[in-house]
């Protein structure tokens, strides 16, 4: 682990919903430039942790820092402007708007005029959606919707990209292609934090893996270390361990 400032850090992060302790003393750090996967059984608190990082939930206790600056109670849009971007599990696109219009809305904070038009064109080509540019986004296939949203998330030029099950519902080929896109983005310097169930995919992209269980950090390490960990296998099989 490097000693540089982490791009994202949580300190003693807790979240209770009533009596339910969904995030339990999570101390987590993400180094700039890494691809990090967050795994864990259903109900482990992965989605809640994402929502805390994005500002959709407010932590009950603890701190969140982005590039060393505290963002614990900052509204979502302000975190995005700092350089965080997200791709949701259920494709978060503007269904009633046309595909190119979706991209225009994602890009218009950064670009305008001819530069905006050119970037929309480039992205349509990159996402393989040029044929569908004038379609309503809601009429796209599931895979295409996923791609469109990845395109929108990436078009913000984020420093940190959060991906919530980016390959959910994709074919193995699409999944593999998505992995390659993520690695290409990473090569350009984008840090990636992904929640993922597909262990083949995790193996393809992850440099480090964190396992959440009952809201707490259960294990952390490379994918090989995690797979070799009997305790991790036990929680995935739904068994207790002594």
């Amino acid at each position: 682990m490097t000693t540089s400032t982490p791009i994202l850090e949580t300190q003693g992060l807790n979240k209770w919903f009533g009596g339910l302790h969904v995030t339990n003393e999570v101390d987590f750090r993400l180094d700039p430039g890494e691809i990090h996967c967050l795994i864990g059984p259903n109900g482990a608190g992965k989605s809640t942790l994402f929502k805390l990082l994005l500002g959709e939930h407010t932590p009950s206790a603890g701190r969140i820092l982005f590039e060393g600056k505290e963002i614990t109670i900052e509204p979502s849009f302000a975190r995005i402007r700092r350089g965080i971007s997200v791709k949701f599990q259920v494709p978060g696109i503007f269904k009633e708007l046309r595909v190119h219009h979706n991209l225009e809305i994602a890009l218009q904070r950064r670009l305008k005029g001819d530069a905006l038009d050119a970037e929309i064109e480039r992205l349509l080509g990159f996402l393989n959606l040029r044929e569908q540019a004038d379609k309503l986004a809601g009429a796209l296939s599931h895979g295409q919707k996923q791609w469109l949203e990845i395109g929108m998330a990436v078009s913000l030029r984020p420093k940190l990209l959060l991906l919530d099950e980016p390959t959910a519902g994709m074919t193995p080929d699409e999944t593999h292609a998505t992995g390659e896109v993520i690695q290409a983005l990473n090569a350009e310097g984008v840090t990636v934090l992904a929640v993922e169930h597909d262990m083949a995919f995790v193996r393809q992209i992850a440099q480090r893996v964190t396992v959440l269980h009952f809201g707490a950090v259960f294990a952390q390490g490379t994918i090989d270390e995690i797979v070799a960990d009997d305790r991790v296998a036990a929680i995935y099989l739904g068994q207790g361990y002594d």
Partner: protein
């Protein structure tokens, strides 16, 4: 081929993804209708012209509701509150000041500004408190009913502002009409023809202005947050600010309707902010087609004319029929009846041209 309609030039934004109608055909039709509206007073009698002024008065509020509801997805049930606030404001100011030196026009402007300020205050708590959906409708409706109740109990002589009696349910009357100062010979915009031209000019300006606004970056964000507010926020937009801005603009337009209505009829009552009054704009906009300002404009004028015909020609059931019209719209053409006709003709036209080609 992707067709990105991004336009740098202001006037080019008159058409774009958020508004129906583009190209020579549409704008020729627009100019024809406008020309007809301009020459209309030359051929009609004063009463009919005044009646049209009455219809036009309401359209500003309808366009505002279309902006926040149709485009922004925020159903405000209380736009008439701002109608009433601006109406009373115009009355209080002009009764105290008179109409000389263009003061009635100043009062008109101030009334609209006051409506905007009240909307900004209410909207701040609504949107920054992240209230949405049905609760927004409930709060805004409550707000207008509170305004109505408050004004209703101001019948006593102690309720005066300067020389203006608020007058409770008897209504406030006797305010001067709009007057344009003109070299010692003021033009009084009353009752019909001159006022007609002023309001027609305002209507064209507001309609075109809204088209430009809706096809701008602001309009893009507005339709985006209607569609998926979470995604819009996660693209870095402070959606509360956009919602508040749209709400204030819409409320100022409702205020413009109210002040013009008061100047036109020289009369305003608390029932202008009541339950029935609050429901009617929803019907105009829903029936026309809230997804577009042109269908809203056409729909509002049609429904108003129909409603008046019903009330004038003896039917006691005009309001019931309005309710039925809303139900029919929601069931048969949820996008709006005018919008439904537009969609149908576009589809038929496409099929026709396709057949002609093949």
């Amino acid at each position: 081929m992707a067709n990105s309609p991004h336009k740098m030039l202001f006037h080019k934004r008159l058409e774009g993804p958020q508004t129906l109608g583009k190209g020579k055909g549409f704008w020729s039709g627009f100019l024809l209708v406008l020309a007809a509206a301009c020459v209309y007073p030359l051929f009609a009698d004063g009463y009919d012209v005044g009646n049209n002024v009455y219809f036009f008065n309401w359209v500003f509020m309808a366009l505002g509701l279309c902006l926040i509801w149709g485009y922004g997805g925020i159903l405000s049930f209380g736009q008439v509150a701002f109608f009433g606030i601006a109406g009373y404001c115009y009355g209080i100011l002009t009764i105290n000041w008179g109409a000389a030196y263009g003061l009635s026009l100043v009062a008109l402007g101030l009334a609209v500004v006051v409506a905007g300020l009240v909307a900004a205050l209410l909207g701040y708590f609504l949107f920054y408190g992240r209230i949405n959906g049905v609760f927004l409708g409930i709060v805004t409706l409550s707000f207008t009913l509170v305004c109505e109740r408050f004004m209703a109990q101001t019948a006593g002589p102690q309720w005066t502002v300067g020389t203006a009696r608020l007058n409770g349910f008897n209504g406030m009357g006797g305010m001067p009409p709009l007057t344009i100062p003109w070299f010692g010979n003021d033009i009084i915009l009353f009752p019909d023809v001159q006022l007609y031209y002023l309001i027609l000019a305002l209507l064209v300006a507001v309609y075109l202005g809204l088209r430009v606004l809706l096809n701008s970056r602001f309009g893009n964000v507005l339709v985006a947050l209607r569609d998926n507010p979470e995604r819009a926020e996660m693209l870095g937009y402070d959606i509360r600010r956009y919602q508040l801005t749209a709400f204030v603009i819409a409320s100022m337009l409702a205020g413009l309707s109210g002040a013009l209505y008061t100047a036109w009829g020289q009369y305003i009552t608390p029932s202008s902010m009541g339950m029935t009054a609050a429901a009617l704009p929803i019907i105009w906009v829903a029936v026309g087609g809230r997804g577009d300002i042109t269908t809203t404009l056409v729909g509002t004028l049609l429904v108003l004319a129909g409603f008046q015909a019903l009330t004038v020609y003896g039917s006691q059931y005009a309001l019931v029929l309005m309710g039925a019209l809303l139900v029919i719209t929601v069931l048969a053409a949820p996008q709006g009846l005018v919008m439904g006709v537009v969609n149908l003709t576009t589809r038929l036209w496409r099929r026709f041209t396709k057949e002609a080609r093949s």
